[in-house]
Symmetry: C2
DNA sequence: TCCACTCATAAGTCCAGGTTATGCCCTCAT
DNA sequence: ATGAGGGCATAACCTGGACTTATGAGTGGA
């Protein structure tokens, strides 16, 4: 498997059309780039670029590989944006506190966008549940928070930035995967489901929607664990749409239509009452808009 | 930025609860794993695992980082599955020919699933347009093909494995991003759009749906280029749902509702008439089912 | 014809990540 | 209590891969 730097180099070559220019962009020398691409080609057993005295173009296979590589690099950018913010920096100009779901799935993307607009703004991130987020904001230790849940914690103002929809998902082999008739509330409540543990936000929304009745088939302590169990066919699971986007796209999971159940929750930006968002906070919030 | 091996190690530690066990799984020694995790922690400036004489558990930050890392590693697995198949292996037991869109977005996932079921089956991949795929199959140089388009090429039998829907997308800042009233065919045909070049499958489907009338705002030669142009706000684009799933999830693009335009095409598995799928081909096809 | 660009090759340096060897800490079972 | 075993850390050493600089060779435009 090639390493991340190699993949970035490949993307740069694709974009710039020359090994030398790509090398310069990444701050290495042309022979280094040349050798690196060559070693990737050896590794993969496929020619990736057509070299000519006038530049380098991707081969057919190279284009395909580059597209696959782009996914990896994009995920790495999200990782990096998140990781940068996670490191504790006292001099941060924008201190964000966010719930797990938001920190996990949405925030990295927002941070990438923010970095494009305010490259010099140091951002720090603290992840925790609603109470922790509220506490940090009220203590003046964070400038803006993001929470998922029914209401706005006391002492805070907020604005809805996104809707999180819970979805019922099953592995493609499950009988429900071919189901066209939507599940009703009664049927859903009667079915054993793979769920987060009692007390989690996701579980709370589900039980509110069903009227307190959810039969756990399995109780697991993380979104990831629930997802893996569902993918491996253990049964139907209820998860945030955000968490299963990729699995649905890759058909590792199939969404089951549901009717008559209110499986939504609001994702809100929050800040202390009176602190009208300004500066970097305002900028960040503007990135989260345009969302239904 | 940590490297892929480091991230995999972190996932293994999360899963197995011990540095030593994770090290063993990856075929390295315990001190190597210990040092690697430590260097990642130094790099990120955050403690990732709580070490104890009874094992290692992720810290809060570690859990977050691990979830971000999982995305990268999953993308890397898709890359690897694709790359393995791309390398020309004459002894392959399953030779697949696929159109670009399918090879790019769907096939890696299928190959991962297939590898789980038939770990010893060598798969080779050739990407090309419908005509190339048909040619390979008829020449006996491929065992199964995947094409996108209106019909099944002559001499082949096929089965629909997925629906590809084209979607109209804009950057979140665009006026259409807030639009609730669906666009009609007339309005869409009258609007300048970012499109693939004349002759591409995507463009063909769009023009068929609109009755031959599409006004290009920009004509670009790859899906990726169209996507970047749309993301950067150049205007509305029409793209396969498969291509923009991630951008929609991250809100880098917003889907514009459309009404009264048939923007679908079938993705089909194909094989020579009479060659009933059997063995690995049958297995691969079974993975692509359960899809609407 | 010469310059400006491309890429490839060669030789040398250096460090990251691996290894083995060892020690400490904790827990559990004898 | 006491050893066995699992878990982690540290130290010393080795090696290979990836970088650098220096150079050459092909192509195309001024």
């Amino acid at each position: 498997m090639p390493d991340l730097a190699g993949l970035e180099l490949l993307l740069a070559v694709a974009r710039l059309g020359s090994l030398g220019r790509a090398a310069r962009e990444l701050g290495i020398t042309q022979p280094a780039a040349s050798g690196r691409i060559r070693s990737m080609e050896r590794l993969l057993g496929v020619a990736l670029v057509d070299r000519s005295p006038r530049g380098s173009r991707l081969t057919e296979a190279g284009a395909l590989v580059t597209d696959w590589a782009r996914r990896i690099v994009e995920a790495a950018e999200a990782f990096d944006a998140g990781a940068q913010a996670l490191r504790d920096r006292r001099d941060s100009r924008l201190r964000v506190a966010a719930s797990m779901t938001i920190a996990e799935y949405l925030l990295p993307g927002w941070l990438i966008a923010l970095r494009a607009r305010l490259p010099d703004t140091a951002v720090s991130l603290l992840a925790g549940n609603s109470a922790v987020v509220a506490g940090r904001l009220l203590a003046g230790e964070a400038d803006v928070g993001f929470v998922e849940g029914i209401g706005v914690p006391a002492g805070l103002d907020g604005a809805v930035v996104a809707q999180d929809r819970l979805v019922v998902v099953v592995a493609p082999g499950h009988a429900w995967a071919r189901r066209r008739v939507p599940l009703g509330a009664a049927e859903l409540a009667a079915s054993p489901l793979i769920l987060r543990e009692e007390g989690s936000g996701t579980r709370a929304v589900l039980e509110a929607a069903l009227g307190g009745l959810a039969r756990p088939l399995l109780e697991l302590s993380s979104t990831t664990a629930v997802k893996s169990a569902a993918v491996s066919g253990a049964g139907p699971a209820v998860l945030s749409e955000l968490a299963v986007g990729e699995e649905l796209a890759a058909r590792r999971l199939v969404r089951v239509p549901v009717d008559g159940v209110r499986l939504r929750r609001e994702l809100r930006a929050v800040w202390p009452v009176g602190h009208v968002p300004a500066g970097p906070v305002r900028e960040l919030l503007s990135l989260t808009r345009g969302v239904r």
